[in-house]
């Protein structure tokens, strides 16, 4: 028993039900108890945003430039640019729309942490996406980091985990929310009012109050009985969803009047309105079509600038909303592209790639890990984070996810322990966040 205050798991679940916690049956979280309150307070950050370049980005056109051995056709090794510790591929002259690498690094290089040479271990989309999202390759049960952190930090948030695509498993820890369009937020903001108009409630306030209290009694009665785990889980999730949905009314003031045209910007606006309203912890943003088996350079030069522009849009709007200092950004893809072009001028799947981070407490202007001239992963000394071909380790997603859990302060959370990441002590990345 983790918390002596609660003498049985059932008591704990009952408590969660009362508090509107959407807990799944196997969870036993003293941390969650402290989050419980009759009227959940707004979640105030940090806010986690995972950008997915779905399909497999070409890292040699962004943060891991090569320009040798026919790896890139758009530039040579001598054209590679630098910004502080960063090296990046020159793209400004190829960008039709979106943001060039030059502009991106100029703006964000100082706060950007890059990890190159990640070994995805596989080179297929679905296992790669699963592995990068969860840190676990050989399980279909593990939650994504975004879902896990949402469950740990914002169990009472009605849109705790927002997702717009890519691998989004929740491990039954938290409900996933899909809000496909900005106007959708308005639809759900005032559920007890006719057509969402606060002046026209469906019920008189005392009726609604009676209904809520009776529903609470009904839920208490159900979970006080011995029921099947699935039914208990359903009862808790349902009660939490309805109760917590009330706080969606807080989103309304932050829904922008103008809807941006760009795909990522639309997702960003939904996420930011939810963050600002304190109803969301994490958002999984996604754009696809990076799978450039044909015409790699054309496709990557369309998509990477779009992707970077999306990241920049997030930072700019977060600044306007005064929450920029609470935004944690993870930018990733499920695989890289081969160091050679195929006959269709495309690049196929490659199991080595990169990831980018920005956020409070992350020391920027740093690059950890590397690939060699053949785009093979160079092992890393986990204690110093320096390249070490002889005795270093191959950094894989579980190493990064363990570090992420530590960074977010959830590594020891009961929910994290329910989905352990096995990394030997000597392989843990020391000082990764700076």
């Amino acid at each position: 028993m983790s918390n002596p205050q609660y003498h049985s798991r059932r008591e704990f679940l009952k408590f969660c039900g009362l508090a509107g916690l959407g807990v799944s049956a196997p969870i036993w979280s003293p941390d969650a108890i402290s989050a419980a309150a009759a009227e959940p307070a707004p979640y105030e950050g940090p806010f986690y945003v995972v950008f997915n370049a779905s399909g497999g980005w070409d890292t040699t056109y962004l943060m891991d430039p090569k320009g040798v051995g026919e790896i890139n056709r758009l530039y040579q090794e001598g054209d590679i640019l630098t910004k502080g510790s960063h090296k990046f591929a020159p793209t400004a002259k190829h960008v039709q729309a979106g943001m060039s690498n030059e502009d991106f690094y100029a703006e964000y290089g100082s706060e950007l942490l890059v990890m190159n040479g990640i070994d995805y271990s596989v080179n297929n989309h679905s296992p790669g996406a699963r592995y990068m999202a969860t840190g676990k390759l050989d399980s279909l049960a593990y939650p994504t980091f975004a879902a896990l952190v949402a469950a740990c930090k914002g169990p009472t948030c009605p849109l705790s985990f927002l997702t717009f695509g890519n691998y989004s498993n929740t491990g039954n820890l938290v409900a996933m929310s899909r809000i496909p369009y900005l106007p959708s937020l308005q639809k759900i903001a005032n559920a007890d009012s006719i057509e969402g108009n606060l002046r026209s409630p469906y019920q008189d306030d005392f009726v609604l109050d009676r209904i809520e209290r009776t529903l609470k009694e009904q839920t208490d009665a159900t979970i006080s009985r011995t029921v099947l785990p699935r039914i208990e889980h359903a009862e808790n999730m349902l009660y939490a969803a309805q109760l917590n949905s009330k706080s969606l009314a807080r989103v309304t003031p932050y829904i922008p009047a103008k809807i941006p045209k760009e795909r990522l910007s639309q997702q960003v606006e939904i996420a930011l309105a939810s963050f600002k309203a304190g109803v969301c912890v994490s958002a999984n943003l996604n754009i696809g079509q990076f799978d450039s088996h044909a015409n790699n350079d054309r496709d990557q030069m369309n998509l990477i600038p779009e992707f970077l522009a999306g990241m920049a849009y997030l930072m700019k709007r977060a600044e306007e909303l005064k929450i920029r200092d609470k935004i944690v950004v993870i930018a990733q893809s499920e695989m890289g592209r081969t160091p050679t072009y195929n006959k269709g001028n495309g690049k196929d799947h490659w199991s080595i790639g990169s990831i980018m981070f920005m956020g409070p407490g992350i020391r920027g202007n740093r690059v950890v890990g590397a690939t060699d001239e053949k785009q093979m992963s160079v092992p890393v000394d986990p204690a110093t984070l320096a390249s070490d071909k002889e005795s270093g380790i191959r950094v894989r997603p579980e190493h990064l996810h363990l570090a992420l859990r530590q960074y977010a302060g959830i590594a020891d959370h009961a929910m994290s322990k329910q989905y352990p990441l096995v990394v030997p002590e000597k392989e843990k990345l020391v000082g990764f966040w700076g």
């Binding site: 099947l228 349902l238 917590n244």
Partner: protein
């Protein structure tokens, strides 16, 4: 109990009774048939009698090591098929108990265990990467898997007469006890309600309820036979199989299923269709919009109509991969250009959604050189495999080489997700760089591609325009394993109907029948069947394994019934309907422990209704559907799918969905309570025994009427048969009475029901005592409960 696995005492166990019953003769005979080195001495543990498999091998060696570590390569068609250690895949064993394959595999393990190198069992040496094991190290010496093999070897080596039971502690067969012990099942009336709502979108009739009351579970077959004749069942069937095949989700518009090359003259027939009968230009334009929309919808429905037809006509469901026809409607047949030939067969040529089976002629191309060449003169239909929409939904590219199709084929029809649990490769990039053709040369890649690529090759003539008919210009790829199926090559003269060749083999593969039964489980529960637990170090491994095995046994039992019924899919529905996996509803034994909870983690339906199901349920209970969940954006918000980008339904409600539930409850109650009171009493659905003047606390009789009404509402809305004085009814009664009490203490409350709660523009209902609004509060409360929102 003696622990032989110090860290995990629950593992390494085998029933005493089975050890004692093991018959050396059986295994000896099997071993004698092969030239393996003999076991040093006859041992008490050598297998099971009468062709059964001993549990230590089945539950420990096979489940935890063989199936997880060895089978992938050591099987016909596997990367180690040339080795002397060949196993049989139990999933391809037609025997529900898998006896044939397990006996074979036990013998193979025993032979390998008995062979010695430097006085060590080759089984152990190979597993740890010795003797140049092609798969390198698959078990570390300190792993649980290795210790299981060690124990297997030790048991085989015990000299005759040694009392084996002194060496190993055993426990009773964990599967002997009833898996559902202590679990209560859904009452028959509630089961019937779940079935009719789930499968036909309606409440049970009085006759049906009486029948199941009288006859119990044995009536379910007969009742479902009738349900499965209703159109609503087939709508649900189509919707559910689209959740599986996602075949409505192809790109580029519905008409793109008909390729320009083959149907350029007919596929856009609506553009020139004479609509002069509709009047002026504006009217014709409006009519054409509808014509276009209906045509597109008719095309999208076609593949699912195939499923409906097979099931409705009681055809063997193997036709889903063998049917020598497609389904066409008057509208889609115009797209194919064969309307004139078949129009006599339609009852109503103006009905866009009347479908009949049609055999297409071999495809003609704009360039006669590319006309399809078949021996029959017909398109070589192979059920869903050759349906144009299915091919378009899973298109190919020059680099994908039909592998996506092959992957989906394995997943949809054989229940194998080749990417589900991809094996970790030490350095995948190095492997990729090392070999010229890794998919044919690197063991790590060959494991999957040996199965995947031959099936991809069978789709080779569907390569043009992202996959509709037309072979690749440069011929099929040479740097792939050639066309075939699970080790059998496609004879070149069969290429013209390669997918029919595949369909025939698929129908005979034992995995096919099991997969179809699993699909029906998914349709009925919204969940996929359990995967075998993988982490043998998990303290709850045995519990999870038991849950998995119990479910597998049920799948096998139902598969057997399905096959014996000539693959009639209705039999699978009927079998699952009465299965304890579908009926489990509660726990009767208090004090459940974590192990038991882990066993029961996936038991019970408890399925949140999809947007479509929720709309149907509202329409079944009230006079009208809610309607808002028919809007595609709202449906997505409520966890629905679009078959393209969003392909999995939400399992749990988010706060956004909770908000929609609140709105739904508010709105449905709003539109129906006053309406019901306005209906003459004999025709009311909700308030048959009370009037707005009936208030609580005035007389015993009126209180009884109110309680009767609550009982009725619980029954109709929640499907619960609560007693008049049950806590649930008391709670609802208190809500009703409490609302009225509050209302009477408030000043300035209008004596009229809300203006927005008029159903059809009628005047606002008079509500001087607030009872209509109080009942509305009650209905709102009921509509927000799990018993309404979940199945």
């Amino acid at each position: 109990m003696i622990r032989i696995a110090p860290h995990h005492p629950a593992i390494f166990v085998v029933p005493l009774v089975l050890l004692a019953a093991a018959s050396p003769a059986v295994w000896g005979a099997d071993s004698a048939a092969t030239p393996a080195a003999p076991v040093k001495a006859a041992a008490p543990y050598t297998g099971a009698a009468c062709g059964t498999v001993d549990e230590f091998f089945r539950d420990e060696v096979w489940t935890k090591v063989g199936a997880q570590k060895c089978l992938e390569c050591h099987k016909p068609g596997g990367d180690a098929e040339d080795s002397k250690f060949i196993l049989q895949d139990p999933s391809r064993d037609a025997d529900p108990e898998r006896r044939t394959s397990l006996l074979h595999n036990r013998a193979a393990f025993a032979r390998m265990a008995a062979r010695r190198t430097d006085d060590k069992s080759r089984l152990l040496v190979k597993a740890t990467g010795g003797l140049e094991h092609g798969g390198e190290t698959v078990l570390k010496p300190d792993s649980m898997g290795f210790r299981i093999l060690e124990e297997f070897v030790r048991r085989l080596s015990v000299p005759e007469g040694t009392p084996a039971m002194t060496a190993v502690t055993l426990k009773a067969d964990s599967r002997a006890a009833d898996f559902f012990e202590g679990i209560s099942m859904l009452e028959n009336r509630r089961l019937l309600r779940r079935l009719t709502l789930s499968l036909a979108g309606r409440l049970p009739t009085a006759d049906e309820s009486a029948t199941i009351e009288k006859q119990g579970l044995k009536a379910v077959d007969l009742l479902l036979d009738a349900v499965m004749k209703e159109d609503a069942f087939y709508e649900r069937l189509a919707e559910a199989f689209n959740d599986i095949f996602l075949v409505r989700g192809y790109n580029e518009g519905a008409e793109s299923a008909l390729s320009y090359d083959n149907f350029s003259g007919s596929r856009l027939w609506t553009q020139k269709f004479d609509l002069s009968e509709f009047g002026d230009e504006a009217a014709q334009r409006k009519a054409r919009y509808k014509l276009d929309a209906d045509y597109r919808e008719a095309l999208l429905r076609e593949p699912l109509e195939l499923i409906k037809y097979i099931v409705r006509e009681d055809h063997p469901f193997t036709e889903i991969v063998t049917a020598d026809f497609i389904m066409e409607s008057p509208y889609t047949s115009r797209g194919y250009g064969n309307f004139d030939e078949i129009q006599e067969r339609f009852r109503d040529t103006k009905d866009p959604f009347e479908y009949i089976p049609v055999r297409l002629a071999a495809l003609k191309s704009r360039d006669v050189k590319n006309n399809q060449k078949t021996e029959t003169g017909f398109y070589p239909h192979a059920g869903m495999l050759t349906v144009f929409q299915y091919l378009r939904r899973y298109p190919t590219t020059e680099t994908n080489r039909n592998r996506l199709r092959s992957r989906m084929y394995f997943q949809h029809f054989l229940g194998v997700d080749v990417l589900e649990l991809a094996a970790r490769v030490t350095d995948a990039a190095a492997v990729q760089a090392k070999f010229e053709v890794p998919t044919m040369q690197a063991a790590e890649c060959v494991v999957c591609h040996r199965s995947l690529d031959p099936v991809a090759g069978l789709f080779q003539d569907y390569f043009s325009f992202e996959g509709v008919y037309g072979p690749r210009k440069d011929g099929w790829f040479k740097d792939m394993f050639g066309p075939g199926f699970e080790g059998e090559d496609l004879p070149p003269d069969q290429r013209w109907h390669a997918l029919q060749w595949l369909g025939e083999r698929t129908a005979k593969d034992p995995r096919f029948a099991r997969t179809m039964v699993e699909h029906v489980y998914y349709v009925m529960t919204g969940r996929k069947v359990l995967l075998p637990p993988k982490t043998i170090d998990d303290p709850l491994f045995d519990a999870k394994q038991r849950a998995y095995q119990a479910q597998r046994q049920e799948v096998e039992r139902i598969t057997d019934r399905f096959v014996k019924a000539n693959f009639n899919l209705k039999e699978a529905f009927k079998a699952w309907a009465v299965s304890p996996f579908y009926r489990a509803d509660g726990v009767t034994t208090a004090g459940t422990n974590p192990r038991r909870m882990a066993e029961l983690a996936d038991v019970g339906v408890a399925r949140m209704l999809s947007p479509e199901q929720l709309e149907r349920k509202v329409a079944a209970i009230f006079p009208r559907p809610w309607g808002r969940l028919k809007d595609s954006q709202t449906a997505l918000l409520y966890g629905g799918i679009d078959s393209q980008e969003v392909t999995e339904r939400a399992a749990d409600p988010s706060g956004a969905m909770g908000a929609i539930q609140r709105t739904m409850a508010n709105d449905v109650a709003c539109k129906n309570v006053a309406f019901d009171f306005a209906t003459e009493p004999g025709k009311r659905r909700l308030f048959q025994n009370v009037e707005p003047e009936t208030v609580p606390g005035e007389a015993t009789e009126s209180d009884q009427l109110i309680r009767q009404t609550i009982v009725h509402l619980h029954q109709v809305v929640l499907g619960r048969d609560d007693a008049m004085n049950s806590p649930e009814v008391n709670r609802t009664y208190d809500l009703f009475a409490g609302i009225l009490e509050d209302a009477h203490t408030r000043k300035g409350i209008e004596p009229l029901e809300n203006y927005s709660c008029r159903a059809n523009g009628e005047p606002r209902a008079k509500d001087p005592q607030y009872t209509i609004r109080a009942w509305r509060g009650v209905v709102t409360y009921l509509l927000r409960q799990r018993d309404f929102l979940y199945e």
